[in-house]
Symmetry: D2
Subunit: 260 residues, 4 copies
């Protein structure tokens, strides 16, 4: 009999990897897709298997036409129905003024941040609708709700993504598909993204935030698990998370310094 699948698009060692581990622990076969680093991917799969879970890994260039579509089809035929998916691709490239945001960068931001989710929904929702159930979790950022200086590419992509989540929810919610948009308003202890962005300063940065000052992706994974298992009569569409000590995005921020 086929396994129920939890698919992660954008499965680094941070949010994606921890979500995969959490859902595998809960009985899903986790399928981890990421653009590069086959070794890192294999390690995440091995960790899940060592913990007694089921997992598969695949490299994926999500920005290329047909790739997400093929992955959905292959996963459903080879492993089992995708009961839940986490769209975890970011489009953050740091702060760049407009002159230093080339047209290709802006378009790539949209391809990863917005269009990829549209393509995923196109490929996956007919299957979920036929089954009458499914969950689409979307990791998002404050760039989806406000546009900071230097964030032209990221904010335009994320703003489109949030509206797309709402139109998907409006169409597919009543057909049994749960779409949840999660604004992650704080730094995440994610070695493959923030870690690479900060490099040597990563540990120092985390230390400067103090205990519990950076989001533990394992904690966020529990919230993803909760969202994916809310009964149909009580679904969340929008939620935010941040460390207790962080100033929320809508408040005056004492001193932003680094903020990724």
């Amino acid at each position: 009999m086929a396994d129920k699948v939890f698919l992660v698009i954008g499965a680094g060692a941070g949010i994606g990897g921890h979500a995969a581990a959490r859902f595998a622990q809960g009985g899903y076969h986790a399928v981890l897709a990421r653009r590069s680093d086959e070794e890192g991917l294999a390690k995440l799969v091995a960790q899940i298997e060592d913990a007694g879970g089921k997992a598969s890994g695949t490299l994926l260039d999500a920005s290329a036409d047909g790739t997400i579509e093929e992955l959905v089809e292959r996963t459903e035929s080879d492993i089992g129905p995708i009961e839940a998916v986490l769209y975890n691709l970011g489009a953050q490239i740091g702060n760049r003024d407009l002159a230093n945001t080339p047209h290709r960068t802006f378009e790539l931001g949209w391809r990863l941040g917005c269009y990829g989710l549209f393509r995923l929904a196109h490929a996956l929702t007919p299957r979920m609708v036929e089954r009458g159930s499914g969950t689409i979790l979307v990791t998002s950022a404050t760039a989806a709700v406000r546009g900071n200086a230097g964030q032209h590419s990221h904010a335009a992509a994320m703003g489109g993504r949030r509206m797309l989540c709402q139109t998907l929810k409006a169409e597919f919610g009543p057909q049994g598909v749960h779409v949840a948009h999660v604004v992650v308003d704080g730094s995440v202890d994610a070695p493959d993204t923030l870690g690479k962005l900060l490099g040597d300063r990563f540990e120092e940065y985390k230390a400067s935030k103090g205990e519990d000052g950076v989001i533990d992706p394992a904690a966020l994974a529990e919230t993803y698990w909760h969202l994916a298992h809310q009964p149909k009569n009580c679904w969340t569409h929008e939620i935010d998370v941040r460390p207790f000590s962080d100033v929320a995005w809508w408040n005056d921020n004492p001193d932003p310094k680094i903020r990724t």
Copy 2:
């Protein structure tokens, strides 16, 4: 040794009662406060105790000065530290045009919907700050984020309440107090509120919404439990819930017709 307490202000047979039951099941001593119906209150307490939990009930006129304050003090001295509280008082009075919204009604809406939470925070946050932990859950409504026709009293109270939740979070979050504002965007299977409002039509109304078409307060209680137990590095401040089949508040409702 003292029990850790989960206090519910506004503990009817719907959201409040189910939240109390859920937290009691998780090891809290549930303290249920409501304005009237001593019999109904005793029944809720008995149900929790029958299930092996600890609970106490008290009648409370939350709109009267000193009452919430006294309850906080009495609970902490007689039972134990209030680790989590659910402010569950509504101020919904149905749709009334302005001419039929007397000044006293508008003020009472504010006293229950906004001022009571301020008073609760005044009484409770010093204790939570001293302990370095605590959770304040607030049941809210779409009236906190948009003002519909006929909702003068309710929306003004809830809009103030939401902003108060943000200022409380801004001040007390960094001191270890988790404030969460929950927009309940849908009907709840709550006999003491919606049930009384609809009377004979309540069952018919629920049936018209279909299976899972009305929020089960037990399901919502699970989300409250989840929120109250997120690790400090990953706290949610704002979240919404609704049945899968409901149109979200921000969408065109029932019959959009043409709208270009």
Copy 3:
């Protein structure tokens, strides 16, 4: 024949006074109401008259029951129909933590920031509805849309006020009454409010903001005039204003320092 009246509730030398002058210049009889400073009030009235306009001044304790109501009645019987009104009362008391926000302060914030507008609408909308026209302008603040630390009283009052503006618009818009909520997201060159709050530092502060770095209330008055004269087919309900050089409230703020 009776004059058409522009009533200002909260008519200091800043926003209220300049709005009164602008509407008087446009042919309205400006009625200026403020809590205190009879001399300052007389000066504003004299300036309008010296410029060829019509104006009257009155002292008003807006927080006391019956006062706004009496002013509306007296104005309509003695001077003429109130075609437009500016509700310009603030409730800003500077940043205070919860422990230093007494219950009376919080209630007074609500009385001035929210309840007063409700009372004004109660007294005035029946007249405007009968005439099939009227404009209610409301000066607001970012505290209506987000709650900063230390703003418990102000934000709760303004959040309620914004929702009330929406419910008023929902009920009275179709009856010909234009309600507009104006988020003033920046410092205003207002000697009677910001000036008194900053005292000796006021000029230094304005200088630090540079040319056009502080809102000129005469400029804002032009926007109020525009809003009040939009044709019925194209009404604005929500609008924001700020100096060109200010960071918008939703963005990371480099260095807040003073921010009143």
Copy 4:
């Protein structure tokens, strides 16, 4: 001496044409760009000239790379500095479910709704920054702030556009460039867009809305003029407009029935 230019991208007989006429009346040389209908374009130009204004027309495929860029350059060298521009391209294609929203449609929506504004800003902001002044007006829709069913393409494009407006404002506001995002929440009396969408039913539809029930683009043009001429110390970034009789997008529409 060169004329100061008001450029309209998306200049049909509705909003774009009326804005061009208003700015021409105020002394600007209006440059009208639209995709097709050379005859209709010539008529708009002639109307402006007949009224004593200056105007030029050009056909433009805004979705093609280089076109907006070339127009900006040509306009500035042949006519004069673009002091104000109205980005008036829509991406509304009516309601279509996801299965009937092809990938090409979704991408085209983004190209017109979001990417074109990015390209315009890239071409124009360096010139405006050098001059220390300029205004970018953006016609928008409720799809920028909420995603209705069937609006996948439109909402994703508009949501990105709104965030882009915020990032542009954040970077270029302090350099003297005024960016204003205008949510048009109602039907516009626009023969080239809504008129074509409704065809024979257009007049009937307008009649059904009653007097002043549809936005007169000439009225909206006055608001655009006002926005473009606010002093630097008092700039609006976000504003909405709708007919007095329309339910705002955030309210329960036509038939709320019971909703408690």
